[in-house]
Amino acid sequence: MINSDHLLDLAGMEARPSGAGAPRQAYLRRAVSTAYYEVFHAPLWTISTEFVGAAHWKTRVIFYRSVEHGKVRDRCKRLAHDPLPNDERLSLGLDRFPEGLRLFAAEFVSLQELRHEADCDPDTKFSVQEAQDAVDAARQAVEALRAAKDDSSLIPFLSYLLLGLRR
């Protein structure tokens, strides 16, 4: 499995390239993109470890592969909603998720958009500081997700992230 902490280290290095002069945009774009992949992998790791026993390690790959970037973004928009939209409120029995999980969801949406600009929009340029901010934001989001380990709302949060609601 991909170690998400290693992705963060990599993103940090890409945001602070060595060499004289201003860093090339290519490095900064890679840093932003890698920072997003960190927040993409962190919930996948949590989902696979929460839902699949260690004895069935190989099965975890199926969970990893089942998650689509666009669907997770759309679900995160709703998970970060305060209060939750009516359908989610009724289905999950919650008015809202705790702040840490809500901020993780909001950061996921923001970083995915930034990744899209970094990888697909030739006109977008980043400052060095913005690239470093993206790495810091990813780190903070992953810490918020990890801090929710014993929170009773983590399983509903991950279940919705993985499966959404049938509409």
Binding site: D82, L103, K125
Partner: protein, 97 residues
């Protein structure tokens, strides 16, 4: 839908509360379509100096508070924020692709 001037004033108010050192010189709020095709907002905050790291780390809270405010005003658009100092804006303008 809330007017852009009201949105800018709300962003300034939220930033003042969460990033007290941020000397905001400009807030731009523009409608945009995000990469998923959803109507959303592009919000750019420009400060005179870059606020300290412990304050810039609160940008996601600014997003959360502003979005909650938008929802309370029946506006479901997700706000995508960029935070830049004036120096960084110049850096970005000069940067090669």
């Amino acid at each position: 839908m809330v007017g852009q001037e009201l949105m800018k004033a709300e962003v300034v108010e939220i930033v003042r509360g969460l990033m007290p050192s941020a000397d905001v010189v400009r807030v731009d709020v523009e409608p945009k379509t995000d990469s998923g095709g959803d109507a959303s907002l592009a919000v750019r905050i420009v400060t005179q100096q870059r606020p300290p790291r412990e304050e810039t780390a609160r940008l996601v809270e600014v997003v959360d508070k502003f979005r909650t405010w938008l929802i309370a005003h029946d506006d479901e658009r997700f706000p995508y924020f960029r935070l830049l100092s004036e120096d960084e804006e110049r850096e970005v303008e000069r940067a090669d692709s």
